[in-house]
Each structure stands twice: as structure tokens, then as C-alpha cells.
Symmetry: D2
Subunit: 309 residues, 4 copies
């Protein structure tokens, strides 16, 4: 990590990029405020071929190094007990699904209550707002009406002509600008920006082993802030793993991005299929749609975001 990314530099960044109060003291939308109706109308107009593509990984129900606490999928009544409801003629299966919300394996969106810096959340709300019986502010309900807008894919390995980035090869601001230029568009207000570093290809090349992830260098944060994007997603967690060796700032994109800027982050997306379609058409923008479950006190939610081309 560069000398200029000292803890003090991160402190300054945190202050400089803070959106606290920008949309009023009660605001819990953060950067989602940038996403306006007109952006949705424009995003809908991007649909050309009518193909819908999932940007989520399958919800794993068996453990793996990147996901040691996988989801529960339990049948409550399978085909053998299809009569368990007791209503003659009514034959039905029922099931239960449960999952950790965060982590390194599940495709999920982070609400603004997921992160704290020195005990404070976005907007200066105290950590005590996230009680053991659920969060009282900055919850996933900020996205209750869905996040629908223009999605932009910045596919860094493709830009560089490689299959994937190594863990210590971070994505820089210049990469984002380069990918934007190559895509012949300008990332702007209200965009949902998806940054790929090549997680799936790397996993395949490593035969499934999990030893970390590439991610965004902190110098990307200013750019993301300048461009007024609404949401940031990644095939990793946006931050590299393991975290950076900056004292107290191991995960700057989470710490500055969520807490200062008010960015909702989408972690562990599946972006390989989208990358192929975008490359084939040489179009990197699309209609994006994602709607977390309406869990009133949650700090995030597993999701299945889709791109419509």
C-alpha cells in the first residue's frame, strides 16, 4: 500500500467524502438519493435484446472455506408428506430457508447499518441503534421499493487483457477510468456500478481454493464520490481480502464507502456471464434491478440482482 494511504490520509478521506447531513438529518438513503426517477426511465430505455441475467451466485447449503456458515434449506414437507396439510386432495411441498446475511460467499446487499466507524453509522447514528433485537435505523428498508436504475459493468481483467487479478493486484482509480473510457460511456449520478476483478475465473484456475480476493484501492473512493454513484457492487466484496495494512482502516471501501459516502454495497456477485454478454455486444450499460426482502430491522439481505440487456 502506498505511503500516502496512512491512517491519517484515510481520516481525511472519511471527512472529505462524508455525505452526513447532505440530504437532511433524517436521511437513511445515503447515495441512493442520487438515483432519481429520470434515471430509471433512461435505464429502462437501455433494454434492447430483452435478456435477463442473474448476477447472484447459488445460495450454498454446504460449507466451503469462503462460506463456512452456509444457508439452511430444510424441507418441511417433501413429496412423501405432501398430504401433511390434512386437506383432502391438496398435495403440497413446503420448505424453510435461512441464511447469514453477510460474509464472503452469499450474494447480498449491505444496508448502511452494517458498518460503523468509531461507533458511528452513516449519518452519525450511534452503534446502539443496532440492537441485539435488530437495527433501528439505516436498515435494509432503505431499499424496500427496489433498486432499479442504470447498471454499468467495469470489467477490469477484460480491460487489461487478463483473466483475473491476483489478490495483491488492486483496482485503481485509473482502472475505473480506463474501463469507463473503453466502454464509451460516462459513469454518473445514480448509476449502479459493478466492478469485476475475475473471481470466478480465478477460482476455476485455483480449482476452488479460496485464498483471498482482489478489490478496490482506496483511491477509487474519491472517484466514486465525485461521480455520485448510487450503489457499488463487485464479484468480491469491493475491498480486497485480507484487509489492507492501514492501521484501523482494513476495509476502506466498507468503512468510507458505506459509512461516510452512504453507499450500499453488493458483495459476492456473479459477474462472469454478464461480462461475456457485454463484451459480445460491446455495451456495458443495462437496466439493473434488485429488491431485498422487506425485513424491518435487518442490516442487509441476500439478493439476486438482475441485469436486463
Amino acid at each position: 500500500m502506498d505511503a500516502d494511504y496512512s491512517p491519517a490520509a484515510l481520516e481525511r478521506l472519511f471527512t472529505a467524502l462524508s455525505n452526513w447531513g447532505r440530504w437532511g438529518d433524517d436521511d437513511e438513503q445515503g447515495a441512493l438519493n442520487h438515483l432519481l426517477p429520470e434515471h430509471r426511465v433512461a435505464a429502462a430505455a437501455l433494454v434492447r435484446v430483452g435478456e435477463s441475467i442473474s448476477l447472484a451466485r447459488n445460495l450454498a447449503t454446504t460449507p466451503s472455506p469462503e462460506n463456512p456458515s452456509p444457508a439452511h434449506h430444510h424441507m418441511l414437507a417433501a413429496g412423501d408428506a405432501r398430504d401433511s396439510n390434512g386437506i383432502p386432495g391438496y398435495e403440497a411441498a413446503r420448505d424453510y430457508v435461512g441464511s447469514d446475511v453477510h460474509g464472503l460467499g452469499v450474494t447480498h446487499v449491505d444496508a448502511l447499518s452494517h458498518m460503523f466507524v468509531r461507533g458511528e453509522m452513516y449519518g452519525g447514528r450511534p452503534a446502539s441503534d443496532v440492537r441485539s433485537d435488530g437495527a433501528r435505523s439505516n436498515t435494509v428498508m432503505s431499499m424496500a421499493s427496489g433498486v432499479v436504475g442504470r447498471g454499468v459493468l467495469l470489467d477490469i481483467p477484460r480491460l487489461r487483457g487478463i483473466d483475473f487479478l491476483e489478490n495483491d493486484d488492486l483496482i485503481r482509480r485509473t482502472d475505473l477510468e480506463g474501463a469507463e473510457a473503453a466502454a464509451r460511456l460516462r459513469v454518473g449520478a445514480g448509476d449502479i456500478v459493478l466492478v469485476a476483478w475475475g473471481r470466478d475465473p480465478r477460482r476455476q484456475a485455483r480449482r476452488g481454493a479460496f485464498d483471498g480476493m482482489s478489490g478496490l484501492h482506496p483511491d477509487c473512493l474519491e472517484w466514486l464520490h465525485e461521480r455520485d454513484i448510487a450503489v457499488l457492487g463487485s464479484d468480491g466484496i469491493s475491498d480486497p481480502m485480507p484487509g489492507l495494512a492501514i492501521e484501523n482502516w482494513p476495509f476502506p471501501v466498507h468503512q468510507v464507502g458505506i459509512t461516510a459516502i452512504g453507499l450500499h454495497l453488493i458483495d459476492n456477485m456473479a459477474l462472469a456471464a454478464l461480462g461475456e454478454r457485454c463484451a459480445a455486444a460491446n455495451r456495458w450499460e443495462f437496466l439493473f434491478s434488485m429488491a431485498p426482502l422487506r425485513i424491518e430491522r435487518a442490516t442487509g439481505c441476500p439478493v439476486n440482482p438482475v441485469a436486463v440487456l
Copy 2:
């Protein structure tokens, strides 16, 4: 119930409306096959004002008569344990969410493995395909890429000039046709049809008591089949509750709709806000988007569908 809806009539309907084999022996998409890329393109063009509206109820975590087994939302680390990850400076909250997939309270989509008629699922697959360790066919993965297309709201109480239907006041084929005519559109191939009977207003009028629901009369099934719709949703469960008094056919929309026609059903939607917007604009069609989690062996999933106007 009319004399002409005898068990024998339902049998005939089941056979007459069957789509088994229509799209090949391996098909697990059912009526979703009607939803083509061109429909998505056309649906996207319906976005005018850029407003996104949630069609889901909040995921209840406390029990109620209509939802006796509510969801679990458990904090794994709240604000008081934001340091629980052990990484200096990294302060994060984590949570767990679990839910029954089906029932009368949770907004969810039924996969084609949810229902059986005499031990068979859509396509003639055996009940034994839905094992106690998960479904092997007709799973929710049919919708893994999202369900995106034209949504049409048929708001029956509004058509009739009332606030809500009583439980024994069923929605007939003529109601659907009437609502369609009033909406000045034609329900057609690939549409996601949402039928409202006024659940929220009725609940309010009844002060929260739950004593059943209105729903579709079986004579709607032929119409839905003729029109080649892709998905059917309702603020109830499409079938009236309690079930009809037709021997062995208590829930014809589930039994014939899911199993014969191959319709994915969305149950327990929140349609009141959408109804108001549609009425105000006098436009009843919109871009619809829904993407269940990618749970490989599930028979359905809680969802938060959105309408984009």
C-alpha cells in the same frame, strides 16, 4: 360453487389445460416459456415516470393468525459486538434471516415443485422428486435469471366500485375480462398478471382479524390459459380461503394452475399502493421485475417483486 364445478369438471379442466410436454419432456419452465425477450423489451418501454413500487409485504417476525410461523431475524453481532470479527478498526453488524417459504403471510413465489395432483407435478414428474433433502426438479431455479416482463394489474374491487371482496365473493372470468376492458389493454402472451381482491383494505376494515380470503373462481383458469400468461400473482393466494367444497379440488388455481398449466404463482402480494398509482394514472401495465434467491432445491422463495411505472 356452481353445479358445473363438479370434481369431474375439474378433472376435465386439468386435462384440457395441461401444458405437459408442450415445450418438450425436459421442460421445467412451464408458462414462463410464454415470456420472450421481445416481451421484456416491450415491457421496458412502459416505464414513463421512473417510479419503483414494492409489491411485497414486510417479512413478519412476530406470529399472527395468517402467519403462525413467522420469519426469524436474529442479530449475530449487533452494535455492542461490532468488534466481534477481531480485526482492529473493522466494526460491523451481522445478522441471520430465516423464513418458511410458503403459507398465507409471506410474499413468495411458488415453484412448480410446490404442488402435486395425485402424486404428480407439472410435466408428470413424480412426487418422489421432491425429497426430504430438497427438490430435484421443477425447482425455483426456473426463475434464477429473474422474472422480468409486462405486469398487468387487474384490480377487481376498483372495477366494481367497492373497497374489497368478501371471502365468498369470488372473482369470475367476467371480472377479469371487465378489468381488462376497463384498463384498455389486452392481457396476452408472457404477461405477469396480478389480481387484487382488496386484502389490505379488508384487513383494515376488519381491524386485523384474519378469517379467510377471496380469490379466483375456477372459471378463470381457462381464460388465463387462453391468454398464455406467464405468471399469476395476487394479494391473496389466487385461490379463495378456506378452499372450495369440490371433492379433491380444494384449491383449483394451485392444482390446475401450477400443475397442469405450469403457472408460477406469487402469493400474498401487497397491491394497494400499486392500485392507487395505476388508478391515478389510469394505466394498468408496467415493467415487472422479481428475482427469487438461487436456492437449488427449493420449491419457492420469499420475494420482493417490484413494479416500475
Copy 3:
């Protein structure tokens, strides 16, 4: 409630009965300290007929008014998937069980971390020791080696010649003394005292309706403390339900018993069968054994205590 049970009287009682520091500053056993090896030897000698009786209710998996959040019992592999392990010839069923620890339905034991008075637990430990990722002191591990000793049943309705007590008919100190006298024994150091008010008979008489429970009047607390009992159990929750109308002291047995005295409480026991056996033999003491699961950070545990006669 008597005039002499003012909030101030409860305050005095709390101070007077406090065992904080009695067994050292690090003590987390509370009144379990009274239960000595010699008591176990003596208790074992009470076994005469060799009958073992369960003192637990079935773990409900369907909701009821007294247990709105019942346990989960999910099959992971039933008979239909007995081959799911993939080992030829190995045919096995597997399941999952989950339960709330406390409440009014599940037979469970309260650890000393279950209750606080003005933010403090037994021994003066702060509420912050019970973090959202688990309790750090006064956990159920106090009972990790099992609670084995002399059990004594004080069956109040039988003493009074009635089937059950009404909710507002509280058990007084004189009742406990009367039952003790009738049992021709003396409750003493290390005893596990089980007090029955007739929950099951009352439930039966009320046809399953749940409208509250009888319990111990606060004047019992001094007696329990004087006698140096180790554990208190009840077919209710020891406190009457709904709570008493003493400001800030709705549940004195929980508040003073657990927090000041350091009593582990067993709630929602099934005592009817035991009562019948004891009455038939006119013997009210027996070997008692209970062993909560070793959950390192739990504030209690569902249990199945047994009496051996």
C-alpha cells in the same frame, strides 16, 4: 398484592437476600453452591422403586397462545433420502432441532445471565456481559456438570385439596411450610425445590385456553433463601402471570431469586405425573437429575429434568 409489598419493600428484600460476593467475587454458581457432594450421596439413597419420571413437557413445534414461537424440528434426510450420505449400504435419517430458550411454553432452565436488575446480573456483573454474540458470564455452563441432588415436590393444590390454583391465588410462604410439614421432611441446603400450582389440570379444565398462571408470592423468597435451596422449579414460571402490580418489580421471583439470591429457575415443568406418584407413595423427595446442553454463551437451555423414585 399486600400493601407491604411496595417497591421499597422489594428493594429491601433484594438487598437483604443478596448472595453477591458470598462465595467470592468470581462466583457464577450462585445458590448451586449449596449443593454439595454429600447431598448427592444422600439423594441417591432416596431411590427405592427405581422409576424414572420426566418432568418436562413435549417440545411443541406448533404455535399456541402460551408458546407463540415454538421449536423447529426439521428433517434433513427422512426415510426417502436415507441414502443421502452417499455411502453404499449406509441408510440413515438426520434432523435439526432449534428452539427459543425461554418463554412460557418450553421446559427450560434459566442461567443467572437471564435476568438483570437495573442493568446488573447476579454478582454485580454488568448487562454488557451479555453481548449480542453471547453471554460472557453467568452462563448455562454453571450447570455443565449437571444438577443432581435431592428433589422435593411441594404440591400446593393437593395440600389444599383442590385441583389447581387460579391465577390470582398466589402461593404464600405458609403454603410452602404447610406442604413441607405434610411431606414430613425439612427443605434444606442444596435442595432442588419444585412447586406445583396445578397448571396441567387447570389447562384441562379450561380446555387448553391460556390466560395466565399462578405462582409464588414474594413472601416465599425469604423462606427459599433461609433454607439455602439450590434450584427452584415450577409447573409455571414461579412468578405469577401476568406480573405483579409492584412498580418495577413485576416478577420478583425472577428478579430477586435469580439476580440477588443466585437461584437457577426451571420453568414450565410437567409435574402432574410426579405428583401422582408422590401422593401414592406419600413420599415427596427423590433423586433429581438435569443436565443442560453445554452451550458456552447461553443464558439458559431447554431441558428434560427427571425424578428417580
Copy 4:
């Protein structure tokens, strides 16, 4: 494995040791039928020093190679939300615990519905009795009143003067007889027999790595059957891991022991502390007590068995 333990030999063993029908066609107790009231009385008389020792491991909540699906322990209300009940003055913590019932990590007891041989359970009941909504016969309710009797520890490594057995060093019938002789007792009707191979010492020597377990050779089965024991427990799973290379009979103790003999098995016990106490006193018998939760349709239960010396 010896030549004489061919699949055909196991078939013969299964038939020869079968207790099906021995206690009537309706019997679901299996070998528990051997444990009579007189055995409980005699077992109680074994209590000399009054020490109670847990025979369970802590319930792990983090994954490990031997326990990839650990328990859930979730706080529902920690100290920070002790007021969440809404009753003034009532400050309480609440939690939830959930666990897989079987596996290689959790101390648990297997009910007779856990195992099948060619689709049949103990007593000839069909696999279809274990439905996806729970078992209908041979459930854990067989032990609802608790398992209380004489426990006998057969500590094989101590007998051999070593710390632990290697995986491929199986326990033979001669080992059991040798340990019995060294203990100067005779294993007999109704005994709860606990066989240690040194799991904890081996784990320590291997620094926590998990690569399998020793266990009982099938030639032990005849001996266990001849002696009419009631229950078999082990610090492993009684069978060695990975399973034996006998076609279709990978786990003979589970397959013959549970299904033919009707033995309830206790897996993954913690026997090291008990071994030390027994060796110090040179007494290998004790009062044993275990009481699984009363889960009506379960195939087993996590337990905390105790030995009282």
C-alpha cells in the same frame, strides 16, 4: 478387516442378533427393555463421593472438520435490549439454540429411527415411517422418561497402557472382556456401556486435526448382545471412521447395533475426565443419567449425559 467379516457374515450377524419381536410387535424401546427398575435402584447405590461429571462436549458454534455444520446460538435479546419485553422493570436476556442432531461432533443419542437396513428400521418398521415432516415410530420419545441406570466405562487405551488408539486399530471383543476383567465387574443386563478409545488425547496429540476415529470391531456386537446391555456410548461413534470396507456394511455397530439389536447409541461423548476419576478410584461403574428433549418426531437429540460417582 478379517476375512470372516464378509458381507455374508454381517448378514448372518444381523439375523442372529435381531431382537425384532422379542418384546412384542409394538415395541419401540429395543434394548432399553433390559433396563429395569431394580437396575436403577442398584445403580443409585453406586454413588459414593457425590461427584457429578459431564460426559458431553461443548456444543460447537463454529465449524470444524469434524463438525462442518455447527450449532446456532443466537441472542434474541442481549443486555443491550434487556427491556425488549416492554414490561417496566423486567430486564431479561433471551436466546435461540439450534443444532443438527447427528454427525461427528455433537454429543447426541441416536433413536432407533436413525438407521435403516434395506429400508427397514428396528422392529421391521418401514423407512417411510420417517417422513419429511418427522418420524412416526422408533423416535427419541423412547427415552422420554430419561435413561437412568448403571454406567460402566471400558477405557481401552488405559487397559493397553497407551494414550489413544489409532484409526485402524479397532477395539475387539477381547478388549472389552479385558477391560471388564480389569474393572473387576461383569457387564450385564441393563448396563449403559461407555467405550473410550482416546479421542481427546489423540486430538490433542494431532493438534486438533481430524482424520478419522477408532471404534468397535464387529466382533464386539455378539458380546454386547449376549450381555443384554441397554445402551452403548463412545467418545467416537462406536463405529470406526471412515467406515469399514465390508460391502454394504460400512458401519456395523450402527447397522446391526441400532437396527437389529435395538441399541440406542450415544456418539461423540467426552470420556477423558470420567476416565481419570475412575482410574484414580479404580472404580469403573457409576450412576448414569441422560434425558433427551421430548421432541415427538425426532430421530435423536443432542444430550449432556452425566455420571455420578
